[in-house]
C-alpha cells in the first residue's frame, strides 16, 4: 500500500496484572484509510484501540511497554500532553455514551472546553456537525432536549458528530455498531467510509462481514499476538497464516 503511515505501533506489549494481553505488537496504520482490527473475542482488539488514545492510563495494574507514534511523535512520552493526544482522536464506543446534557451541548461540549466561547460560532459548529452526521433534520427542532431521548442509533451518530466537533485526525471505533439495529449500523458504516477522505479510521469489529465491507487494511489479532496485517483485499483473498485462514472460514471465532 502506498499510503503514508499515520500511526506506527512499535513493540507494544500490555499486561493487566500478570496477564499479557498484547504481546509485542508492531504495525503501521495507514493515513486516510479504514483499518479494521479483527480477531476472536478476548484477543486484545479493544486493548489495542484503547492504547492509541491512552485510555488505559491509570487503570489498575496496567503496564504498557513499547511505543505508539502518531505523526512520528511518541504519545507515551511523559512530556506529552494527554488531552491533546485524545483530542486528535475521536472515539466511538460499543454503546453510545451521550453526555448528560442537551443534544446541542453534547456537540458544543468539546469546542467549549477547547476555548470556543462565541454563541454564533458554537451554533455554526453544532449545525455543521449534525448535518454531516445526517441528524440535523431529525433533531433541529429539539436541540435543547436531553440527548438521552434520542434513539440508540441517533445517539451513536450524535457521538460521532461530537467527536468530529473537536477536529480530530483519527477516528477510533470500538465495535461501534454492536448495539445498533441493522439500519443504523449501515448508516454508521457508510459514514465511516465517507470519513476516510479526511480522517484515518480505525475500527475494532468482531463482525467479519463488516470488516469486508468497510476495511482497506486489516490487522488480525489472535491471543494478544498480531498474526497478520496488510491490505484487506490481499488478506481476504490470500490469507497466509493458518490461524488467519481458520478465522476467515469460521473455524475459530
Amino acid at each position: 500500500m502506498d499510503a503514508r503511515t499515520h500511526i506506527s505501533i512499535q513493540n507494544l506489549s500490555v499486561s493487566y496484572g500478570r496477564q499479557r494481553v498484547l504481546k509485542d505488537v508492531s504495525v503501521d496504520l495507514p493515513d486516510r484509510k479504514v483499518t479494521a482490527i479483527i480477531g476472536p473475542s478476548g484477543c486484545g482488539k479493544t486493548t489495542l484501540l484503547r492504547t492509541l488514545n491512552r485510555l488505559l492510563d491509570g487503570m489498575d495494574g496496567v503496564k504498557i511497554e513499547g511505543q505508539v507514534l502518531v505523526d512520528g511523535e511518541n504519545i507515551y512520552d511523559p512530556k506529552i500532553e494527554v488531552t491533546r493526544i485524545r483530542q486528535k482522536m475521536g472515539l466511538l464506543s460499543q454503546k453510545p455514551q451521550v453526555l448528560p446534557m442537551s443534544i446541542f451541548d453534547n456537540i458544543a461540549y468539546g469546542p467549549r472546553i477547547h476555548g470556543v466561547r462565541e454563541k454564533a460560532k458554537l451554533r455554526q459548529i453544532v449545525e455543521q456537525q449534525l448535518a454531516a452526521a445526517g441528524l440535523w433534520d431529525e433533531v433541529k427542532n429539539r436541540l435543547h432536549e436531553p440527548a438521552s431521548r434520542l434513539s440508540v442509533g441517533q445517539q451513536q451518530r450524535l457521538c460521532l458528530a461530537r467527536g468530529l466537533a473537536v477536529k480530530p485526525e483519527i477516528i477510533l471505533g470500538d465495535e461501534p455498531t454492536s448495539a445498533l439495529d441493522p439500519q443504523s449500523s449501515r448508516i454508521v458504516e457508510q459514514r465511516l467510509i465517507e470519513l476516510k477522505a479526511d480522517y484515518t479510521v480505525i475500527v475494532v469489529t468482531h463482525i467479519l462481514r463488516q470488516a469486508r465491507r468497510i476495511a482497506d487494511y486489516i490487522a488480525f489479532l489472535y491471543l494478544g499476538e498480531l498474526v497478520e496485517h496488510g491490505p484487506a483485499a490481499e488478506i481476504f483473498a490470500n490469507p497466509r497464516d493458518p490461524r488467519m485462514k481458520a478465522y476467515l472460514t469460521g473455524e475459530i471465532s
Binding site: N53, L55, G58, M59, D60, T83, R84, R86, Q87, M89, G90, L91, S93, Q94, K95, Q97, V98, L99, P100, M101, Y109, G110, I113, H114, P146, S148, C159, R162, G163, V166, L172
Partner: protein, 285 residues
Amino acid sequence: MGFRQRKAEEMVFKVLMIGSTVIVTGSLLLIIGTVVVKGFPAMNLAMITQTPKGGYYLGKEGGILNAIVGSLELAGGATLLALLFSLPIVLYINLYKRRKSRLAVFTRFALDVLWGIPSIVYGAFGFILMMRIGLRTSLLAGIIAVALLELPIMARAMDEVVRLVPHSLQDASASLGATKLETALHVVTRQCLPGIITAILIAFGRGIGDAASVLYTAGFSDRIPGALLQPAATLPLAIFFQLGTPYPEVQERAYASAAILTLIILVISLLSRWYGRKFQKNSIL
C-alpha cells in the same frame, strides 16, 4: 419434612414478617399521631410567627420562630459547609484515584467510622474546638459541629451515586480532550446531580433534627439569630427544654414544636424522594 410441617413453617414466618412490618409502619403513624394530638392545643399561628414571650426560654406565650429560623439557618449553613468538603472528597476518590486504591478504601472506611460516631461526641469535640480558638456558643460553632455530623452522611450518599457512573462515560469525555476536572464538573457531577441533591437533602434532614451536637455549641436564645457569632436556638433543643419543665402548657408547646420539626423533615424526605423519582424518569442510561 412433611408438607404440613412446611406449610406451618411458611405460615409462622409470614406472620412474623407481617407483624414486623405493621409494628414499624404503625410506630411511624403513632409518633406523628402523638406529636400532633399532644401538641394540638398549643398549635396556633403565633407558634410559627413569634418568638417566645412571658419568661426566659420557657415562655408560655409567643412562639418558637427563634428556633425555626435558628434550625433552618444552622442546618442550611452546616449543609453548605459539608457540601464544600464532601463533593471534592467524592470526586477525588472516584475520579482521580483508582476506585480500589488504598486511599479510596481508607477514605470510605474513615467516613463510615465518622458516620457511626454519636452526635454528642461531635458536640463535645466542637466545644473543645471552640475553647481552643476562643469562640463562644454561637450559630457559627453550631454550624461547624453539625457540618461534622453531616459530612460523612453526605459524602457516603454521594459516593454511592458517583461510583455508579460508567467508566465509558468518563472515557467519552476524556476522548474529547477534556481534563479530569472538566469531566468531573461538567459530566460526572451533572450525571449524578439528582443523587447529589438527594444526598444533600438527607444530610440536611439529619442535621436539622440533631440535638446533641448543638447543645454545647450553638447555645440557645429567645431572639432570632442575626449574626454568625450570636447564639442560636434550635428546634430539637426547644423541644428538649420545653419538655423538661413541670408545666403542662409548656410541655404541650414542646409537642407542637416537635410536630413542626417532624413536618420540616417530612417535607425534606418527600422532596428527596420526588427528586429521585424524577431522576429515574429522565434516566440517562
